[in-house]
């Protein structure tokens, strides 16, 4: 959902360099995040519980005297962007115990090979933080796997919600046309790719999967989709009315039932391409022209 990232708080106080911190904070401001100024790693769960918290900082400052153990043990609603930027960071990164803790919640961005002067590091940081924040959304899948023996799709969503879905109970399972043997999140968690034993693949939108396990989310998506359909429908209505045609006249000319046209214009259904082709003919134009006019307004 577009507004979801707005409820993520962040703390960038663990970045040692003022320049880098300012750049990181500028990007995070662009993403409309609220800023917290708490002690890193910790602290007042009662103040932020239920929200996502993103903490950005240099590896050696984040690990501090307690090492990375305490970061890995913090609640699932806290995520870390770990910057490898200084010699201290590099030394820590070579420690096998540290590397072991750099799991999904400790997202590692190595900036040591980039130069701040030519802005490549700044661009990398910007793109990375955007991607990280995207991944925290409820309609993103952070990890996915398929247990063929149990017929279960395991998912962890961006906001930490984890669910095991019975494959055959999913609304779209029977229409995919194959039984998956594996699954993985892809495109920054926007979709899950399912793979069959014979190699066929199918990409499933992450929002569809979220809707399968979260009725409140499904209702939000349905409302947003209806609004989007209303825009498309109103453009068809405008094109019809600009030609002085009633719905009944268009129905007679096109063969599209008047009730269907009404539902399309009111945003209650998506027009199929063939329906649009018939409507275009009724308006005295071809399909490309109709589509171009729908996109122009």
């Amino acid at each position: 959902m577009e507004g979801a990232s707005a409820v993520i708080d962040y703390d960038a106080s663990a970045i040692g360099s003022r320049v880098v911190r300012e750049q990181a904070e500028r990007v995070l401001d662009e993403l409309s995040l609220r800023r917290t100024r708490g002690t890193v790693g910790v602290t007042r769960p009662d103040a932020v519980i239920g929200q996502r918290v993103l903490i950005v900082g240099d590896l050696h400052r984040l690990s501090g005297s307690q090492g990375l153990d305490h970061l890995a043990a913090t609640p699932a609603w806290m995520s870390y962007v770990v910057l490898v930027r200084t010699e201290s960071d590099r030394r820590l990164l070579r420690d096998p115990d540290v590397a072991m803790h750099l799991n999904d919640r400790l997202l590692l961005l190595d900036l040591t090979t980039l130069k701040w002067r030519d802005s490549s590091a700044s661009s990398a940081l910007r793109a990375y933080l955007r991607a990280v924040v995207e991944q925290l959304r409820p309609d993103r899948v952070r990890s996915a796997r398929f247990a063929a023996v149990d017929d279960v799709l395991w998912l962890e969503f961006g906001d930490g919600l984890a669910r095991a879905l019975n494959w055959s109970a999913l609304s779209f399972a029977s229409r995919i046309g194959f039984a998956p043997v594996s699954a993985a999140a892809r495109r920054h968690g926007q979709a899950v790719v399912l793979v069959a034993a014979a190699g066929q693949e199918s990409t499933v939108d992450a929002a569809v999967l979220r809707g399968e396990v979260d009725a409140g989310f499904a209702a939000q998506v349905a409302e947003r989709d209806h609004t989007e359909r209303e825009v498309a429908g109103s453009r068809i209505r405008h094109i019809r009315e600009s030609r002085g045609l009633s719905q009944q006249e268009v129905a007679e000319r096109s063969g599209v039932p008047q009730e269907s046209l009404s539902r399309i214009e009111n945003g209650h259904r998506d027009p199929r391409l063939e329906t649009l082709r018939k409507l275009a003919a009724a308006f005295g134009i071809d399909l490309p022209k109709l589509l171009a006019q729908m996109a122009e307004e």
Binding site: E2, S123, R126, A127, Y128, L129, R130, A131, E134, S171, F172, R175, I176, R187, H188, Q190, A191, E201, S202, T203, V204, D205, A207, V208, G211, V221, A222, D225, H226, E228, R229, V231, A232, R235, R263, G267, H268, R269, D270, P271, R272, L273, L276, L287, P288, L291, A292, M294, A295, E297
Partner: protein
């Protein structure tokens, strides 16, 4: 393979095999790390402030018939009420 996947420069444009209506594609790899969706009938972009490079807009306009056709093969979780 997804119902539709092509690149326009560094931007990847894709229609998922299973998705919810209305017809749309996903765009990723936009400048400054942005990503979003584009309605295939109106070419409206979400989130609204997301800037699409001119080349990507032209790409979508040039395929304004092909992409809704590709959407017809999508397993849609809904087609409106």
């Amino acid at each position: 393979m997804p119902a539709f996947r092509e690149r326009c420069g560094s931007v990847e444009i894709e229609i998922h095999d299973v998705d919810h209506g209305p017809p749309h594609c996903h765009v990723t790899g936009l400048p400054r790390g942005g990503s979003g969706t584009v309605n295939l009938l109106t070419l409206e972009v979400k989130p609204p402030g997301l800037g699409l490079p001119t080349a990507v807009r032209r790409f979508l306009r040039d395929r304004q018939e092909d992409m809704p056709a590709a959407w017809e093969g999508v397993i849609s979780s809904d087609r409106g009420e």
